[in-house]
């Protein structure tokens, strides 16, 4: 690491990123043979220009172009996932401006615009799979690791909408909304088998089948099994005593499970089911567990079944109806030792019905009106905590109902000027909230778009934050919690320097009120959640993208974010600067493609100090030597950088070391 420090490498990358655009201007002439190629070939071609009329559906619950969507929407495609070799949803989202990821060797946490409090369970990002809410009804948790109920290879695209989204989505759409849109049966058109092996003995196999039948019905069935052994030995100096195995946790970083997805659609009707069961060993002795005890683990299981109907009624109306049933089961096995060795079981069992009804009207000239109703019946919200064969500390069943109404209008003031205005009222047993949103988008020039956005969002306290207590051992309840809310304002600018060069900037400010956070009560030394005073943040995200006629594509992104609490201190786990470079290029021919990702994350404040900034480089090569065979080799954390993520009060450690250099080899066959 002497001759080539990460910083120098970054410089090389930057020089390449800046110098490359001047090397090869985009071609003007029609590529030879293009008019003679077959249709299938055309559907797989990449573009030498950055298209402007890409449609997104997540910002407003209907299809609109990126330029008129009331947010700086980002898209990650299946092609990006293949090219850069992303293994989890979190790794994919990390490519976007303003997004970062942290991990405590139990779960992955998504940071957005400088906000990712340790000990929170991703409750401020709403995760959807094809529009179905995945955040559970106990902890409000979204998932970004192996616990997502969709295999990453089945994702067609991910839409990410940063900013306040409660005006359309209600609770949890606080910092942003992630919508995972899965592939259709026809995009597989047959059977696909995929297997991968990687560092830390990470195995994964998947079998999928997809088809579109002559009558237009589509079917997709897929199952995945994975077994990642993880780092076989992890050292924590906080536990470096002879009684605690000298601080070495052995064989406890495993990550195992299964996911399954089934989809069927016919005309306006569709039915979908997803499943994920994931067991993760806990090597960190979080929550005061016995260190290096092989029984420490969490098991998270998610199931959803959704029926949807989406059709036109008459000339001007569009109806969308969704009915879903979800189940979430969490079971944590935590070994303790007071006088004797005891296994404590922490359990959460959630089940809910969710329904949504939306009507969209296009009958008024220049208006698109949407009226919606959403309902969630939490039929089970059970939290239990007990010692195996011993006392029960918590047995708290609950049932609740929440609903919301929303109304929004897309008003084309001029052909180039669009006003999106909307509001939603939400009622929950723990507080009600009304949230407006205004988005003004102006295509000032053919090549330039400006957006002004204002909105608020809220998150109701969840039953975990309200009622969880383990009998006064570590945590106590606080039923008096009120909803937290956020107000945000944003200005976006997008400009096409050439048809192949896109520049984008987003400037934002947000203010959080009554933030729900975990604190320690000094009077009894118990952890509990309460409404803290608040926090605020501001920042900017800059992005430059260029495409070359010879297939090279480069995206350079820089983001600056400053998030602080009410006393002006920087928030925990909040990097001020992030720099991201993504380069992809064909190698010699189209059948071989290289994806290179370089990410820099600035230092972050931790409980006791600061964790260093770090530079992460990932390199992936995809080869399709035969039409039905694809092979990829990914190298992750190329420079073997030892970086750490801050963790919360439930850890004795201040920070947790992340994985070093690793690889993954993947083979996929289709027939």
């Amino acid at each position: 690491m002497k001759a080539f420090s990460p910083n120098r490498l970054l410089l090389v990358a930057l020089v390449l990123g800046v110098a490359l655009p001047t090397l090869a201007p985009a071609a003007e002439d029609m590529p030879p043979d293009l008019l003679e190629r077959d249709l299938e070939y055309l559907t797989t071609r990449r573009l030498s220009t950055v298209p402007r009329s890409v449609s997104v559906t997540t910002a407003s619950k209907f299809s609109q172009t990126l330029g008129t969507a009331p947010a700086s929407v980002h898209i990650i495609t299946a092609d990006d996932i293949q090219t850069y070799g992303y293994r989890t949803l979190g790794e994919a989202l990390r490519m976007l401006p303003g997004v970062y990821l942290s991990n405590d060797r139990n779960y992955s946490y998504l940071g957005v615009r400088g906000f990712s409090r340790p000990a929170d369970f991703n409750s401020r990002v709403l995760l959807l799979v094809d529009g179905e809410r995945i955040n559970d009804n106990l902890y409000d948790s979204a998932v970004f690791g192996n616990d997502v109920p969709v295999d990453i290879d089945l994702i067609d695209r991910i839409e990410f909408v940063p900013g306040s989204g409660s005006a359309v989505y209600g609770s949890n759409a606080f910092l942003g909304v992630v919508n995972v849109i899965t592939k259709h049966g026809h995009s597989l058109n047959g059977t696909e088998l995929s297997g991968s092996y990687g560092s830390f003995d990470a195995f994964k196999v998947r079998g999928s089948y997809g088809k579109r039948f002559d009558n237009g019905a589509e079917l997709l069935l897929s199952g995945t099994g994975f077994d990642w052994e993880g780092a076989d030995r992890l050292y924590y100096r906080e536990f470096d005593t002879p009684q605690q195995h000298r601080g070495r946790a052995v064989g406890l970083d495993y990550d195992r499970g299964q996911t399954a997805l089934a989809k069927f659609s016919y005309h306006a009707f569709s039915l979908q089911a997803g499943f994920a069961d994931r067991i993760k060993g806990i090597p960190t002795a979080s929550f005061g567990q016995v260190f290096n005890d092989p029984s420490a683990k969490t098991d998270d299981r998610r199931v959803f079944v959704t029926a949807k109907y989406n059709d036109k009624i008459g000339r001007d109306w569009d109806v969308y109806a969704r009915l879903g049933y979800n189940q979430y089961d969490y079971r944590g096995t935590y070994p303790y030792r007071d006088t004797t060795h005891a296994i404590n079981i922490d359990q959460g069992t959630g089940a809910w019905w969710g329904g949504e009804l939306r009507f969209t009207n296009t009958g008024f000239d220049r208006h698109r009106l949407m009226l919606g109703l959403e309902l969630q019946d939490n039929v089970r919200q059970l939290q239990r905590n007990f010692d195996r064969g011993g006392p029960v500390y918590l047995d708290r069943p609950y049932r609740s109902l929440r609903y919301g109404f929303f109304l929004q209008d897309e008003f084309r003031l001029l052909d180039s000027l669009t006003l999106m205005a909307g509001a939603r009222y939400d009622h929950t047993p723990f507080g009600e909230s009304a949230n407006p949103r205004i988005g003004l988008t102006w295509r000032a020039l053919d090549s330039t778009t400006l957006k002004f956005l204002y909105g608020t969002a809220f998150r109701a306290p969840n039953v975990f934050e309200l009622f969880y207590s383990d009998g006064g051992i570590t945590a106590k309840a606080n039923p008096g919690l009120r909803p937290e809310n956020i107000e945000s304002i944003e200005f976006d600018l997008e400009h096409y320097l050439t048809p192949s060069t896109r520049l984008a900037a987003a400037f934002y400010r947000y203010k959080l009120n009554r933030l729900i956070g975990q604190v320690n009560d000094p009077s009894d030394d118990l952890l509990y959640y309460r409404n803290l005073s608040g926090a605020d943040g501001m920042g900017m995200e800059l992005e430059a993208e260029h495409r070359f006629a010879d297939g090279i594509r480069a995206i350079l992104g820089y983001s600056l974010q400053r998030a602080q609490d009410s006393r002006g201190a920087a928030l925990l786990n909040s990097p001020e600067h992030m720099l991201k470079l993504h380069l992809s290029a064909p190698l010699a021919s189209d059948e071989y493609r290289l994806g290179w990702e370089t990410l820099y994350f600035d230092q972050r404040r931790s409980k006791q100090g600061k964790v260093d900034g770090y530079l992460l480089s990932n390199l992936n090569l995809v080869a399709t030597p035969l039409p039905n065979l694809s092979v990829s080799l990914g190298l992750y954390n190329l420079w073997n950088v030892r970086y750490r993520d801050p963790v919360g009060d439930d850890f004795l450690q201040d920070r947790i070391l992340q994985d070093g250099r690793g690889f993954r080899l993947r083979l996929t066959v289709r027939f």
Binding site: F4, T43, T49, T77, D80, R157, D415, L587, L638
Partner: protein, 174 residues
């Protein structure tokens, strides 16, 4: 970390290769690829009756394909030479076999659609509202590629037949 310099050297070598090498395939612009698609759509469509002199492709609205339609001029489709027409007067739109719609707003699109309704004309568009307004083939832009959707009901109403080879590759068929 003794292996590191080797990896680095390999990587830099690779990048140098990327910067200097000349990969075989050339990527097309959005407009070029759309025209190539259009050319295929025509081949996979059957008209109830073909003209005798030329096969007419017409652009309604501002030319969003930036002149790339001209690449089809004088190509032969169903043994007929292709002609491309811009700024088509309303009374001669009926003589077009293919109409590419680029409306300035939804109101214009609705008027054009009413005007074209049930005529044996293949309508194609990339407008955001085109799918809702029953245009037969609608481009669905991806950040790095182009897909399309096909409205079979609208095609039947126009008396056109779309072949299954094309429908198989459509992202969505209605």
């Amino acid at each position: 970390m003794p292996r590191l310099p080797k990896i680095l050297a390999a990587l830099l070598g690779l990048l140098a290769f990327l910067a200097c090498g000349s990969p075989a395939a050339v990527d097309a612009t959005e407009e070029q690829l759309k025209v190539a698609f259009l050319h295929k759509f025509i081949q996979f469509t059957a008209w109830p009756q073909l003209p005798t002199d030329d096969f007419r492709i017409c652009m309604l609205g501002e030319d969003s394909l930036h002149g790339n339609l001209n690449y089809l001029t004088n190509k032969r489709i169903f043994q007929l030479p292709v002609t491309v027409h811009y700024l088509v007067p309303a009374d001669s739109v009926a003589s077009c076999q293919v109409v590419y719609l680029n409306p300035p707003n939804r109101g214009a699109l609705q008027r054009w659609r009413r005007f074209l309704a049930n005529q044996p004309i293949l309508t194609v568009s990339d407008d955001a509202d085109a799918w809702d307004e029953n245009v037969i083939i609608v481009f669905a832009l991806e950040p790095n590629g182009i897909r399309f959707k096909a409205n079979l009901t609208a095609a039947r109403a126009a008396g056109l037949f779309l072949r299954s080879q094309m429908l198989e590759l459509a992202r969505e068929v209605r």
